[in-house]
């Protein structure tokens, strides 16, 4: 079962699922130090700023979620739930046509909630955490820029999940790309 798109904070820090809070802190500090060093070395452009802000927010959120057992367990449970829902919906789509729309709606709601909470909300919360602030020097200016960047990241993850699922708002489509190329040619030529 593909779990791409369901943000995995263990993977972000390069840890396995059984890593202890001490390992999480140690790895976080090392990764953040490397990142801050890299930021200091390069010239900051608009694109790079967005990239580094997102990386920083991801590391901060990883620490914030994984160092605390109740938050970590709630996160992993919620993640597992949406992954299971995706599997159930795919199975029902193949076998039980009547139940599929309801399952799809439930899955869609849950996946949106999951991404809102664990991509946007917790990443912003992490930026206000003392331990994260000390290591990353995250401040209000970072937060101001991060709103848009995190929303963008959330929608990208959502899209990544949707792209591998069957179409729901639209009937299945067989795209003839030769025909598409002809349409594009006509549009560029200003005829049609």
């Amino acid at each position: 079962m593909c779990d791409k798109g369901y943000v995995n904070y263990f993977e972000i820090l390069g840890l396995d699922e059984h890593a202890k809070p001490g390992d999480v802190r140690k790895t976080y500090r090392r990764r953040m130090k490397e990142l801050v060093g890299e930021i200091a070395r390069v010239e900051i452009t608009e694109e790079r700023r967005a990239h580094y802000l997102l990386e920083m927010a991801k590391f901060n959120a990883a620490l914030y979620v994984l160092r605390d057992t109740p938050i970590r367990e709630a996160y992993w449970e919620a993640r597992q739930e949406v992954i299971d829902l995706e599997r159930q919906w795919r199975e029902s789509e193949a076998s039980d046509e009547a139940a599929a729309p309801k399952l799809r709606r439930t899955f869609d709601r849950k996946v949106r909630d999951f991404l809102s909470k664990y991509v946007e909300e917790l990443m912003l919360d992490a930026g206000r955490d003392k331990e994260c602030v000390d290591a990353s020097h995250w401040d209000v200016a970072h937060e101001r820029h991060a709103f848009r960047i995190l929303r963008h990241y959330r929608h990208r993850l959502y899209k990544e999940i949707l792209e591998r699922l069957p179409l729901a708002d639209v009937t299945p489509l067989q795209v003839d790309w030769d025909k598409r190329a002809r349409v594009v040619r006509q549009v560029i030529a200003g005829s049609g």
């Binding site: 929303r151 179409l167 639209v170 795209v175 790309w177 598409r180 594009v184 549009v187 030529a189 049609g192």
Partner: protein, 378 residues
């Protein structure tokens, strides 16, 4: 107590011919808003809705007699009436769940929208069909081919359309087609006060200026990045076309700009005693100008936007300028005068971009500064 009956809704019948025509019109016009509305809970096409096609307020959903006679409408109607498409539409109009649109209709709608220049509608339809990014890639691929084959006009058009299909995934609350938010972008463009004239955007080298201009004017950063790899003359041709299409009133701006340059140039002659380029600070210059000219310089930003903003700050003029003439924001500079900043027109007299856009017919507003500091132009 007897329950109220829904008399109006229960006795309602919908003329299927009107429904088919309304769907065909939305498809033919490339109007995704109307198409989605037709399947919405309160659509006049639904039997369980109290709304009716026959009322005046829904006249806009139906084709006029002239439209009905056109070939594109007839083709759309024919497609709507194909048994599998019509069967699906009827099923969705009777169902109580969120509607599922027919992919063939949506694809035709998107193509029609693209042909008609309704890019936001096309982008939304392609996005629903999950082929928007691939359509952009195809447009860029063919545009590159056109450029490489020497067909600059087609290359420019391909890039233009691809950039208009951009999507804003950070839009709130849901992703939407990218909006032309030049008022915001212009403020970022002029975020830093230029310490010297050479620091201002319009005075930069052609390559650097073009890169900044494309990042500002092209809504899709990926398209802008790809365009930056094209040769200078192709980027200039693209920029010229983009400016004209974004701003049909560009020539009016050019006229106002010429006047603003003339006034700036005249004032500059009176600023000459100030030592702007070698050791003098912006504040020294400001005091001098304020002393000599009283409220004269405020006429300049008013020329640029075509009206005076009462107690207007430089950024108010800049936002208005960017809204009315997006590319105009590329050819201005902030200048402190007295205790306030104003916007002044600014371009490099030998800039090929300024020349293509007709701005070099204006006198060089900072010729006096160039004379003062030798060939450097600072």
């Amino acid at each position: 107590m007897p329950r109220k009956t829904r008399d109006a809704a229960e006795v309602k019948t919908v003329d299927p011919e009107l429904t088919a025509k309304a769907i065909a019109k939305a498809v033919c016009d490339g109007d995704i808003v109307n198409l989605r509305f037709l399947f919405h809970t309160f659509s006049p096409a639904r039997a369980d809705s109290p709304e009716r096609f026959e009322t005046d307020k829904y006249a806009y959903l139906l084709p006029t007699a002239r439209e009905e006679g056109t070939l594109p409408f007839k083709e759309s109607l024919q497609r709507v009436k194909e048994p599998d498409v019509w069967g699906h539409c009827q099923h969705e109009l009777e169902a109580s769940h969120s509607p599922q649109l027919h992919a063939d209709l949506l694809l035709l709608l998107a193509d029609n929208a693209l042909q008609a220049g309704r890019y936001a509608s096309a982008a939304q339809a392609y996005e629903l069909l999950r082929i928007r990014e691939r359509m952009q890639d195809e447009l860029l691929r063919q545009a590159d081919e056109a450029f490489d084959g020497g067909n600059v006009a087609h290359g420019v058009r391909g890039y233009m359309i691809a950039s208009r299909l951009a999507y804003d995934y950070a839009a709130f609350p849901e992703p939407l087609p990218a909006l032309a938010d030049y008022q915001k972008r212009a403020l970022m463009l002029h975020g830093d006060y230029p310490a010297q004239l050479s620091d201002c955007l319009a005075m930069k080298e052609d390559d650097a200026f073009l890169d900044a201009a494309l990042s500002y004017l092209v809504l899709d950063p990926d398209v802008a990045a790809r365009l930056k790899q094209r040769p200078l003359e192709q980027r200039i041709a693209f920029l010229k076309r983009l400016v004209r299409e974004e701003d049909p009133a560009w020539d009016e701006f050019v006229e106002a700009y010429v006047e603003a340059c003339r006034v700036t140039s005249d004032l500059g002659e009176r600023w000459r005693p100030g030592d702007r380029g070698s050791g003098g600070t912006g504040t020294d210059l400001a005091k001098e100008i304020a002393g000599q000219l009283a409220d004269d310089p405020m006429r300049i930003p008013a020329f640029l936007v075509g009206r005076t903003i009462e107690d207007g700050e430089w950024w108010q003029y800049l936002k208005e300028l960017a809204y009315m003439h997006p590319a105009g924001a590329l050819f201005v500079v902030r200048q402190l005068v007295g205790d306030r900043e104003i916007l002044l027109p600014c371009h490099k007299p030998d800039s090929p971009v300024a020349k293509e856009l007709g701005l070099t017919k204006a006198p060089d507003p900072f010729a006096w500064a160039a004379e003062d500091s030798g060939a450097g132009g600072d």
